[in-house]
């Protein structure tokens, strides 16, 4: 969802996918990317989902977003190195995270789960950059 002044722009699935690809390929050294799956509702272009993989040097980033009537209702962003998830942001409404103040939004780092304030792909990429630099 984008906000312009008092107006909220409802996202179209394909446009959001293009935005995600542009954002990640300009922020990180992406060697290749592939849209693994995309589905857009026949009823309206603002409902659907996509899965994309972005390859970096020795890691890859998996992005999933599900949109409903122009809003991102589900997301999972993962940074993976050698089959190990280094970082994940997601909003799976899992019972085990119910005590987190930001439920459903949470952040996995290593084997631990943390609250996730102001979740966004932008924030996830910033944290990825910090991890990749170390």
């Amino acid at each position: 969802m984008k906000s312009q002044g008092n107006y909220v722009i409802l996202l179209k699935v394909k446009e959001r996918l293009d935005d995600v690809i542009l954002l990640i390929t300009t922020r990180l050294k992406v060697t290749k990317y592939s849209v693994m799956d995309i589905w857009i509702s026949h009823v309206n272009e603002t409902t659907g989902y996509f899965k994309v993989r972005f390859w970096l040097d020795t890691e890859y980033i998996d992005v999933y977003e599900r949109l409903k009537h122009g809003l991102i209702v589900k997301y999972a962003y993962s940074l993976i190195r050698r089959d190990m998830c280094l970082l994940r942001y997601d909003n799976a409404p899992h019972e085990s995270h119910k005590n987190l103040p930001t439920f459903h939004h949470h952040r996995h780092a290593g084997n631990r789960v943390f609250p996730l304030y102001n979740p966004s792909l932008d924030l996830f990429l910033k944290e990825c950059l910090l991890i990749l630099r170390t």
């Binding site: 509702s41 009823v43 998996d62 409903k68 589900k74 993962s78 997601d90 799976a92 409404p93």
Partner: protein
């Protein structure tokens, strides 16, 4: 709404329903349980949150597809009922 637009809309809902049902069947086969059972277990936390990204995404999509299935069937029922009343 005009009859022709209503038919077009119903056709779009049916195409959408076909896609959603096909994904629900795929998940049921892959994870070996009916959708209703998955939804109950997933929502109550009886299924642990998967560590694997792809499995997590399947579960999140499965849940959303079930919601969409309910929404579409409701809309189609509304269309049929509006035609009965007309």
């Amino acid at each position: 709404m005009r009859q022709s637009s209503l038919v077009t809309l119903a056709e779009k809902y049916l195409q959408c329903l076909n896609d959603v049902l096909s994904r629900l069947r795929k998940y049921e086969k892959k994870y070996g349980m009916p959708t209703e059972e998955f939804i109950k277990k997933w929502k109550s936390g009886k299924i642990p949150e998967p560590e694997d990204h792809d499995t997590l995404v399947d579960f999140m999509n499965w849940e959303e597809d079930y919601e969409l299935f309910l929404e579409i069937t409701r809309k189609l029922r509304d269309i049929v009922e509006s035609q009965r009343e007309a």
